[in-house]
C-alpha cells in the first residue's frame, strides 16, 4: 500500500534529508514515526502524499509510482489519503462545516451528498454542535478534529498525521489520539509522526524511529527478527 524502496531525498539547500530508506506500511496498519527534529519524519510524510519526490529510489503509494507520476495523478492520489498537520491548516474565513465541505467540493462531489456527509463526519469527531464556528472560535483540539474530519471526507485508505498533537494540551492530545485509534479500528491505516513518546509507549502500534535521515529502529522488523531467531540476545 505504501512502500519506500531505497529512498533518498536531498534538498538543494537543506542537504540530505533521507538516506536509503526502505519500509512498507500494510493496509489498515497504524505506525508511528518518531525521532528528533530534522530526523526526516516530515520528509517521509511529504513523499507519501507526493508534495516532494525522491532524489533516488522509488515511493509507491496505492499503485502510484513516484518515478512516473504526473501532476494530475498526484491530485487524484491525495483524494485517496487524508493529511493532518500540527498547525491544522484550516481556512480561517470558513466555518468548521465549510472547511470540511470544501474538501469534497474541490473533488466535484455531487452537491446533494455533501451536506449529509459533512454532518456525519462532524458527529464522528464530536463537533456536531460547532458546525458553524470559525476556526478561531474553536480550541486547538477542536480545530484538529475539524482537520481530521476534513481528511476523512473522501474515505481515505490512509491518514497521514504530522505531529497532530504537537500544539495540544494533554487532554486534547488524548482525545485526538483516541479519535485516530477509532479511525484505524474502522479500517483506515494511520501513519503518524510524533515527538510524544508517551503516546507511543501507551500503545502497541508499530514504531519506526528515525535519526539523521535513516531508519534506526522499526518494531515490525524487530518482531520479525525475533520470530526468525535472528535477534541479538540482551
Amino acid at each position: 500500500m505504501i512502500r519506500f524502496i531505497h529512498v533518498s531525498k536531498e534538498y538543494a539547500r537543506g542537504g540530505l534529508a533521507l538516506d536509503d530508506v526502505s519500509f512498507h506500511i500494510a493496509k489498515g496498519e497504524f505506525a508511528f514515526l518518531t525521532g528528533p527534529s530534522g530526523a526526516g519524519k516530515s520528509t517521509i510524510l511529504k513523499l507519501v502524499y507526493m508534495e516532494e519526490l525522491p532524489t533516488e529510489g522509488d515511493v509507491r503509494v496505492a499503485g502510484v509510482h513516484s518515478g512516473s507520476v504526473r501532476r494530475a495523478e498526484i491530485a487524484q492520489l491525495r483524494r485517496k489519503l487524508g493529511v493532518v498537520f500540527q498547525d491544522f491548516r484550516l481556512l480561517e474565513e470558513r466555518t468548521a462545516e465549510q472547511n470540511i465541505a470544501f474538501a469534497l467540493e474541490v473533488t466535484d462531489a455531487p452537491r446533494a451528498s455533501i451536506g449529509t456527509k459533512v454532518s456525519r463526519l462532524l458527529t464522528q469527531v464530536g463537533l456536531s454542535s460547532k458546525a458553524n464556528a470559525l476556526p478561531r472560535e474553536l480550541s486547538g483540539g477542536e480545530q484538529q478534529r475539524v482537520a481530521i474530519a476534513r481528511a476523512l471526507v473522501n474515505d481515505p485508505f490512509v491518514l497521514i498525521a504530522d505531529e497532530p498533537t504537537g500544539n495540544l494540551d494533554d487532554r486534547a492530545t488524548r482525545g485526538v489520539f483516541q479519535l485516530l485509534r477509532d479511525i484505524n479500528a474502522a479500517g483506515t491505516a494511520v501513519l503518524m509522526a510524533t515527538h510524544n513518546l508517551d503516546l507511543v509507549r501507551r500503545s502497541d502500534y508499530r514504531v519506526i524511529e528515525m535519526n539523521r535521515g535513516q531508519i534506526v529502529y522499526d518494531s515490525a522488523e524487530a518482531a520479525a527478527d525475533a520470530v526468525d531467531g535472528r535477534s541479538t540476545p540482551a
Binding site: 502524499y49 493529511v83 491548516r89
Partner: protein
Amino acid sequence: MRLTLRETLLAFRRAPLLSALSVMTIAFSLFSLGLFVLVAVNIRDALQQVEERVEIRAYIADGTPVEALAAALGDIGAFPEVARADGISQEEALERARSELGEFRDVFDAAFLPASIEVRLKPGFRDPETVGAVAARIRTYPFVDDVRFGEEWVRKLYNIRNLATAAGVILGVAFAAVAIIIIGATIRMAVLARGREISIMRLVGATDGFIRRPFLLEGLAKGILGGILALALTYFAHSLISRTLVATRFFDERIIIAGIAFGALIGLLGSAVSVGRHLRRV
C-alpha cells in the same frame, strides 16, 4: 462553474480592500494608457484634417476646348490615387477669389485668373512621392500650363505625420508594457495573499485546473472593472480638457471595446501567469 463563481465572489468579499486596490491599480494603469491614446487619436484626427487639404491644382491654358477639358477631367478622376477631380472655370476662380479676399473684391473685375483642375487624393496617396507622380502625369496634358501642389508643405506634413506615428507606436507600446507590468504585479500580490489557501486546496486533492479557475475569473473581472473605471476616468479627463483647453474627440465604440477587452485580457493573462508560477512552486 457555480463553485468557481462562488469562490470568486468570496475572494472579493473576504479581501475587499485588496480587491479594490487591484481594480484601482488596473484602472489607473489603463487610465494613463487611455489618456495617451486619447491624445494620439486627436493628433491623428488633426493631421488627417490637414492632410485632406493636400490637393493638386493644374492651370489650364486659355482657349482650351471644353470637350478636351471634360475628357481630361474624366481621365484624371479615374486615376487610382484620385478621390475627385473638379474643373474650375475662370468665372468660378474669380468668384472664389472674391469671396476669399472679401475687402479686395472690387480689385477682381476681369477674368484674369486661369481656369484649373482641382485634384484631391484618396487617403494613403498623400505622401510626397505619390503626389509628385500624379502631378507629373497631369503635367503631360498639352493644355496644362502649370501644376502646383505645395511640394515643400506636403513633405513637411508627411514628416510630421511619420514622426507622430512612430512616437505613437513607441509610447503606446511603452505605456501598454508599464500597464501590463503593474497589473501583473498587482495580481501576483493577490495570488500570493492566498498562497495558504492554494496549498490547502492542493492538499485536499484539487486539480490545478480547479484551483486556477476562480483566479482566472477574478483576474478577468478585475480587468473588466478596471477597464470600465479607466474609461470613466478618461471620459472625465476628456470632458475637462474639452471644456477648458481644446475641443477633443472621445473614443469611438471600437476603441472603447478594445480598451475594456485589453483590461480583461491583461487581468486574465496576469492571473494565469501568476497562478501558474505559484502552482509550479507548491
